[in-house]
């Protein structure tokens, strides 16, 4: 077992290269600068590896479109404000059914906000982000190990469904180091017939998102929708932790889920039977899986580093099945396990074992 201690951002770069990523374009923005820096150093060392520091986040995503169309595994990365800029291209990738991997190391607040960790981009990531009603696969790692595993998986999923896939993490995950073991990447499965490499002697290809005929446009949108339904049915992932006897289940992802685990240890020491449901795929959201847990427990508490975004997906899954509480702090401050412990004590224990329903 080859364990290495590496920073989250660099891990993503290394995992991408191991997964066969041979094209990266990006623009500097804190807290993810180590990704382009790593790619600038490593990509030229591998055969066919291309690194470009683009003039903008917009240019970067469109370069990724070009490389993806050409049949190369391609990636870009940024942090919240930069991801907003990339939305035009992400929408285009979705429309043209091109695979690509996009990394978002979320930072705090709307506008420029700040560079502190946050989970404020959940809506943007899971609802498509750009115009036109599309979806991207969104994976939310909670450990540096998972950043490596999910980055590799993101490339496979993107190819399989010809869809942009996003890693949604935050500044803290990007900056921290943890021990990691790289798994063996799967061989790429992507038909050459989809790659645009010149027509040769054969028929020419077109990759386009503009479909002027209304009926054709509608059919294209239905095609995309059918694909999204297949993904929603078959690609959900989640983790559950100490839920066997849980009377209260916390629902959290990414950094918040780590903090929740810390709080659960403390709460259990205090005699409260608390567990965790952690969505790993944020889109598709593990709705049915979560609903199953309503059979075990009638109390759920959503915990996010936002004012309540994943909360909406939890409500869609559990409304009418269980009581749903909420605790969140918007970007800038990373809550502590002690804080969450106290919140649960206050909202749950003192209410006689019933969670205070969030209005």
């Amino acid at each position: 077992m080859n364990k290495v201690l590496m920073q989250g951002n660099r891990i993503i770069g290394e995992a991408a290269i191991r997964a066969g990523c041979r094209f990266y374009a990006g623009y500097p923005i804190t807290p993810q600068n180590e990704i382009p820096e790593y790619m600038a150093e490593r990509l030229p060392e591998v055969e066919g590896g291309v690194f470009i520091q683009s003039e903008s986040e917009i240019a970067a995503i469109h370069m990724v479109i070009g490389a993806s169309a050409a049949g190369v595994r391609a990636m870009t990365s940024s942090s919240s404000p930069g991801i907003s800029l990339k939305q035009e291209g992400i929408s285009s990738l979705a429309a043209c059914e091109l695979p690509a991997v996009i990394i978002n190391m979320m930072r705090g607040g709307p506008g420029l906000g700040n560079i502190s960790p946050s989970q404020g981009d959940y809506f943007q990531a899971t609802r498509g982000g750009g115009h036109g009603g599309y979806r991207t696969i969104v994976l939310g790692p909670a450990t540096v190990q998972e950043m490596a595993d999910l980055t590799m998986d993101a490339f496979d999923l993107a190819d399989q469904y010809r869809i942009p896939a996003m890693i949604l993490a935050d500044g803290m995950m990007g900056q921290m180091m943890e021990p990691v073991v790289f798994k063996e990447p799967k061989p790429r499965v992507y038909p050459e017939s989809l790659m645009m490499r010149g027509a040769g002697e054969g028929k020419s290809k077109i990759i386009r998102g503009l479909i002027l005929d209304p009926l054709e446009m509608e059919e294209h949108n239905w095609t995309l929708d059918r694909k999204y339904r297949v993904i929603a049915q078959s690609e959900t992932r989640h983790e559950h932790y100490k839920t066997e006897d849980a009377e209260l289940i916390l629902v959290a992802y990414g950094t918040a889920a780590r903090i929740a685990k810390g709080a659960i240890k403390r709460l259990r020491e205090a005699g409260l039977r608390v567990g965790l449901f952690r969505p790993i795929t944020l889109w598709p959201f593990p709705t049915n899986e979560l609903r199953e847990f309503a059979k075990k427990s009638e109390n759920f508490l959503v915990f996010e580093m936002s004012t309540g975004q994943m909360l909406e997906d939890v409500r869609l899954a559990l409304q009418g099945y269980a009581r749903i509480g909420f605790h969140g702090r918007p970007g800038g401050v990373v809550p502590t396990p002690i804080e969450l412990t106290n919140v649960v004590m206050h909202q749950y224990d003192r209410k006689g074992g019933v969670i205070e329903q969030y209005q």
């Binding site: 201690l5 807290p31 560079i115 921290m176 021990p179 903090i259 240890k265």
Partner: protein
């Protein structure tokens, strides 16, 4: 067991390097470990700090709201972080630079004139390693031989002589303090 250590000093004093080496050592010793550096605008003012969490179990938050140990290489770091340290925790001060007294009477205070020792050894840049020698003597968080191996690993391709002088620096720090926890 869960031990969180915060290391802090000026940029260039090797704070992040020693934190990295400590985290690597903890990993090599078979622990769960996280390393979180300060980043972005926070470090542009010239200070650097990092937090290392070491545990037998999965680590929830890499942030230390109440670190067990604090290692400071300059005075501003003492002012910034001393009141965060958990009751009964320990503070390690580079007393060559930190001339003020800590206000924490409920913590163990270890003063190591690391910069002076470093001068004597012949390389003033080894003060960080001297601090780590003293820190590991007291805490025993990671066995010395494992730490030294990790330190070499983290220093990477640097010259043999640099590694050698850091080994001597570590020993000097280790021997400076008589007691251990």
């Amino acid at each position: 067991m869960m031990v969180k250590t915060l290391l802090s000093g000026f940029g260039g004093q090797g704070v992040l390097m020693m934190g990295h080496a400590l985290a690597h050592g903890a990993m090599s010793a078979g622990y769960h470990v996280t390393y979180l550096p300060s980043y972005g605008a926070e470090v542009r003012g010239g200070t650097a700090n990092c937090t290392i969490a070491v545990s037998n179990d999965e680590i929830a938050s890499p942030i230390a709201s109440e670190p067990d140990h604090l290692v400071v290489l300059n005075t501003p770091s003492l002012y910034t972080f001393q009141n965060r340290v958990a009751r009964g925790g320990s503070l390690f001060l580079n007393s060559s630079i930190v001339s003020v007294e800590s206000s924490r009477h409920d913590c163990r205070i270890y003063k190591i004139p690391a910069s002076e020792i470093a001068e004597k050894i012949g390389n003033p840049r080894t003060a960080n390693t001297i601090m780590m020698g003293a820190f590991l003597k007291v805490t025993g968080l990671v066995p010395s031989d494992i730490y030294l191996h990790s330190m070499e690993e983290v220093m990477g391709s640097k010259k043999k002589t640099i590694v050698e002088i850091n080994r001597r620096a570590f020993a000097a720090g280790y021997d400076y303090l008589k007691e251990s926890l």
